[in-house]
Amino acid sequence: MSEHIIELADISVTFNDGQQKVNAVQDVNLQIDTGDIYGIIGYSGAGKSTLVRVINLLQLPTTGRVTVNGQQLQTLAPAALRQARKQVGMIFQHFNLMQSRTVLGNVIYPLLGQKISKRDRQAKALALLKLVGLADYADTYPNKLSGGQKQRVAIARALVTDPQVLISDEATSALDPKTTAAILALLQRLNRELGVTIVLITHEMQVIKSICHHVAVMENGRIVERGPVAQVFTAPKAPITLDFVETSTNVRAAIQRITRTIKLSELAANQELIAFKFIGQATKKGVISQLSQEFKVDVNILFANIDQIDGQNVGDMIAIITGDITGFNAAVARMADQGVHTRLIDEQVVKGLSD
């Protein structure tokens, strides 16, 4: 088995809708390790749904190679491709369960037409229903289930063929926060217990933060940033990544709220509005109180928040500093390698937020 279970090389997808050409995915290269939980985040229309459909060739790429588990999918004959698809389970935002079949019937579906006895099929499906905690609902029809239960059935159905990869296409986007957390915990458990590689796409930071190890950020059909989740989200480089981080930590809303009540132009010459970010160990030290004593500055904290990203603490704070701001700024700048980052909030930043 290769180290990368999924390899997408130079993938582009172009939709030719009559006169208009839409480049849904452009020049994407992506390797996903066996056993990883890989998140792809982006706003709607970023091309992430199209990109994951390339993984099981539900979407044929215009150019590029798709290799899953060592098999280059485009070279396969239709029957072999269908067989290969059974190695990649998929769950969807709207569950896509068959209304005409019972819960058990839905989970059995992928096994129909395979050389397995009826009894073995049922046993296999029941075992998976048990795994997702829905064994009691085997004879129920999907319309009687809640959203979370439907997604559990869909997960059981996606896993009944023992796939190596599970693709989750916005699988928690139609669920409430509590159910979302439960489904994510289930996915995490299945990843641990079955070793199934999970590729999940979402527009919610929270989903990425809670279970993903790696993340790719997509914008306009391209991957603009990627890496380990903690790294990408604590030190975002692309503007869109920063956007996701600030939205999820509420920093953006806080800056907007604060600058509505406190006019930047009304700040005195020895005052500044500043945003801090503390990463890792820095969240456990008294950085601010140390500095305020050293430079005799007043620190008026207007917003503070601490968050956990892939097990690492990340703190945000917005404050007005009054006093020797030149000395203070210089001291803070020297602390970057200790995980303290600052950003002066001026008119330009505020203007950027309202765009």
Partner: protein, 223 residues
């Protein structure tokens, strides 16, 4: 009774005969047109540019053919199609001969109804089936026809009721039936009670079909 429907009472056996003819025409043409219409309807869905076996040229041909057949008025179709009828049945008149125009009159209509019913099957479910490695044939039988069953029954009922309507015109080529009695006896001889009773029997047939269909839909629906 005798005062209300004097003429009807004198031709009881004709009424029984006509009712049987109507049932015969409806049942047989429904079965044949059902198979043809279902097949054409499925083909229209799967060959559609967004279908699972997308094939633009085939779709265009089937689509135009369906429209063409649907635009011929039935009373004209009865006459126009007589060479084919003669070839298939050996005669152009009579109850059995009427099956050919009836089938051609109704199956394109049914195909469109089937197409619409199957297009209502959630595309997401079809996509899910594809992601699970289902073959096109498996998707047709295990997804489209199974998920679309309640709607298929509904449109079949609508079609059978339309078909009962068409059989009344088949009297024009000597096929008999309740429509024939209503026109060539009731209307032609000013025996209004005959026309009225023929109509009532047809209404009863329609109601029975409708009630049976509704019951069946209720039985197979789970949403």
């Amino acid at each position: 009774m005798a005062a209300l429907i004097p003429n009807v009472l004198q031709m009881k056996s004709e009424f029984i005969q006509a009712t049987l003819e109507t049932l015969y025409m409806t049942a047989f043409s429904a079965i044949i047109a059902g198979v043809l219409g279902l097949g054409l309807g499925v083909l229209l869905v799967v060959t559609h540019p967004h279908g699972i076996l997308a094939d633009q040229p085939s779709y265009q041909i089937l689509d135009k053919l369906t429209n063409l057949l649907r635009s011929v008025p039935f009373i004209i179709l009865l006459a126009v199609i007589s060479p084919l009828t003669s070839y298939l049945v050996g005669t152009t008149v009579g109850t059995t001969a009427s099956l050919v125009p009836l089938v051609f009159g109704i199956f394109p209509f049914y195909a469109r109804q089937v197409q619409n019913a199957l297009l209502d099957v959630d595309q997401g479910i079809v996509e899910a089936a594809q992601s699970m490695g289902s073959s096109p044939l498996a998707i047709i039988f295990r997804v489209y026809l199974k998920e679309g069953l309640p709607d298929l029954i509904r449109v079949s009922i609508v079609t059978v009721i339309s078909l009962i309507g068409l059989t009344t015109m088949a009297g024009a080529i000597g096929a008999g039936g309740l429509g024939d009695i209503a026109i060539s006896i009731g209307y032609a001889r000013f025996e209004n009670d005959v026309t009225l009773v023929a109509m009532v029997i047809i209404l009863v047939l329609v109601f029975v079909v409708q009630i049976f269909g509704d019951w069946l839909v209720k039985r197979v629906s789970h949403d």
